[in-house]
Amino acid sequence: MGFLSKIKAGLQKTRSSLMARLEGLFVRNTFDEAFYEELEEILIGADVGVETTLLLVEKLRAKIQEEKIRDGDRVIEVLKELILDILGRETTPLQLDGTGPAVILVLGVNGVGKTTTIGKLAKLFRAENKKVLLAAGDTFRAAAGEQLQIWAERSGSELVKHQQGADPAAVIFDAITAAVSRGYNVVLCDTAGRLHNKANLMAELKKVHKVVEKALPGAPHEVLLVLDATTGQNALAQAQVFHEAAPLTGLVLTKLDGTAKGGIVIAIAQKLQIPVKYVGVGEGIDDLLPFNPAEYVEGLFAAHT
């Protein structure tokens, strides 16, 4: 199944509600205040957020006036373009170059799907015949290590694990050292879910990041923040604070197979210029896809093309 069809399947429900409203909206030929207000509600309803929504609508208004647009279909094209201006138009691949193993740090608040995402990423790398090592850096949550163990088996990767309560930095350091000496290509580091307003847990994360830098020059090659598409405006705060603790290189947007739209990634891209790199569209090991902005936006507006 290709990206588009999966995304389409995933966004089916989203689209049916969103599009029903959009279709109603865009058959009009005149654009009055009620039109813009309704447009605002649609974007806010997609969790794009007040600020980014107002910005988008503001720009759309200007364009409509400037280009004297009268046609509803043309309006949606303009809106898509405006969103793509923010999201970027290209798929952003993982940057894994370097001499030793590529180290990927996976972060996020509780329950967003970090461990599952690691399992899926491992599978992707295994499919490219890479040797993959998983580091069980979530030493806090009950049975997190066991959960990762199962993903290691499913994906055909190896696992480095200490006992519960161990120092996560130590686990990850061990994993990287082992990966270097045993010639692994990729190290995927799991971390405990942490709310970004817990100062001590964020300090722990900084330490983990520092240890990774020391363990291998050039590492971490990727620092991915996992965001739950169901999350609202708080995701922006998450991105901001995690970015300060450990500079992020990309986002993974999970649970996009529900009805949530994950529109907050548009706000994050606009404010922090952090690209979405992957999207999670199910619980299966293959349900992780590279994020393609054009197709994502296309998927959102598919009924109009």
Binding site: G111, A142, A143
Partner: protein
């Protein structure tokens, strides 16, 4: 702007209103626009916001506001009342079965916190003298059963599991087991599922039919966005939801999902999850949540916590000392120990009124438990004489204290400096108290 919460926003809006003598319809509209934006930024669903604003506006334009001498306060009062009404007015309790066990199912999306909540609820019931049984019915997520077992062990509540068997079978067997072993509560942890997954939603319906539970609690992540409404509706269509558990409220989310879910399901929020530890779980007080949203702080909870932890006589004695400026390191130690009994400091701070606006300043003030312990160790390494009169602590004493507490001299110096600053602040406070005027302080309630 990011860390300003809804309380702060509404406070800002109403500060402007408070300065006004009389309100025009335009004033009300301007204020309500701010309320609308704040609620939207707080992730309250836009439809819920619309209804809410309409209700407030209708009442605000009624005679009571226009005629009121303090229209600003009247509008705030209306917003607060409507918010409270929307949240429900009382803490809702669990419905008990006529003959035990009382059966509780926990359902929700993946990652909302069902397993953790199940263990926390079990712990709460156990502390109340109950004999709950946890049931591991999440057969899909890797290591979910193991997770519940570990948590069950932590709270000393047995966990019933049949491995990867059909969840409906597990539920039936667990019920039989609970009856045989006279458990009074059966808490069923179900697998996380998307509300659009027809097959898994059907599974829940079958479990409901098999168990006939008294309670089906939808576990909702407080950070959920606009979709909370869709999710809650879908679960309610399939199941007889009886209540909500709101999790991760210890985050800095504005938590508008609570309003949304409550509004669309009509189900009360019964419990709130406030942290990863198994005792970070409380009954949900809707009126307090409404107050918190409005910037009154969760004063009631704070007072209750304080009462539970602090000996009243000691508190009075402390107050006397504070006023007379006889506050010593000995008292400082005692106070710190009592504060720690009340829970993590960061949580206490959030419950204080007016903190919305102070959020940024307080960010730097976040004290972790380790620092607390260090300070405690330092004071404990002092002699009684030193504690009562810190000015005698010279450098050789400092060296000894540092060695005794396993800290550095710097740490001892820091603590002494902090204490000195605190004393100075107390002096200023008591001066202020004496010359107390009607000036508006940061921490004052907007209603007063």
């Amino acid at each position: 702007m990011l860390f300003e919460n809804l309380s702060a926003k509404l406070q800002d809006t109403f500060k402007r209103l408070r300065g006004k003598g009389k309100l025009s319809e335009k004033d009300v509209d301007a204020a309500l626009r701010e309320v609308r934006l704040a609620l939207l930024e707080a992730d309250v669903n836009y439809k819920v916001v619309k209804d809410f604003i309409a209700a407030v506006k209708e009442r605000s334009l009624g005679s009571d506001v226009m005629a009121s001498l303090t229209p600003g306060q009247t509008v705030i009062k209306i917003v607060h009342e409507e918010l409270t009404r929307l949240m429900g007015e009382q803490a809702a309790k669990l419905t008990k079965a006529k003959s035990p066990p009382t059966i509780v199912m926990l359902v929700g999306l993946q990652g909302s916190g069902k397993t953790t909540s199940a263990a926390k609820l079990a712990s709460l019931l156990k502390k109340g003298g109950g004999n709950p049984l946890l049931v591991a019915a999440d057969i899909y997520r890797p290591a979910a059963i193991k997770q519940l077992q570990v948590l069950g062990e932590q709270v000393a509540v047995p966990v019933f599991q049949l491995g990867g068997q059909d969840p409906v079978q597990i539920a039936r067997a667990a019920l039989e087991y609970a009856r045989k072993h006279s458990h009074d509560y059966l808490l069923v942890d179900t697998a996380g599922r998307l509300h659009v997954d027809a097959e898994l939603m059907e599974e829940l319906a079958r479990m409901q039919a098999a168990l006939q539970p008294q309670e089906i609690l939808l576990v909702v992540d407080a950070m959920t966005g606009q979709d909370a409404v869709t999710v809650a509706k879908a679960f309610q269509e399939k199941l007889m939801l009886s209540g909500i558990i709101l999790t991760k409220l210890d985050g800095d989310t504005r938590g508008g999902a609570a309003l949304s879910v409550r509004a669309v399901t009509g189900c009360p929020v019964k419990f709130a999850g406030l942290g990863e530890k198994t005792d970070a779980f409380e009954p949900f007080y809707p009126d307090r949540m409404a107050s918190r949203i409005l910037g009154m702080g969760d004063v009631l909870t704070l007072i209750e916590k304080a009462q539970a932890a602090i000996d009243e006589d000691k508190a009075r004695e402390m107050e006397r000392k504070l006023r007379r400026q006889q506050f010593t390191l000995e008292d400082f130690l005692e106070q710190m120990q009592q504060l720690r009994k009340m829970g993590p400091l960061s949580q206490l701070v959030e419950m204080l009124p007016g903190v919305g606006g102070l959020g940024k300043k307080l960010k730097g003030l976040q004290v972790d438990e380790k620092e607390f312990k260090r300070a405690e160790a330092i004071i404990l390494s002092m002699t009684k004489k030193e504690r009562l009169n810190p000015s005698i602590i010279n450098s050789s004493r400092r060296k000894r204290i540092a060695a005794g507490s396993g800290t550095r001299i710097q740490d001892v110096n820091n603590l002494l400096k902090q204490f000195e600053m605190m004393q100075k602040m107390l002096k200023q406070f008591s001066k202020l108290e004496k010359g107390k005027s009607r000036s508006r302080g940061h921490g004052r309630f907007p209603f007063m």
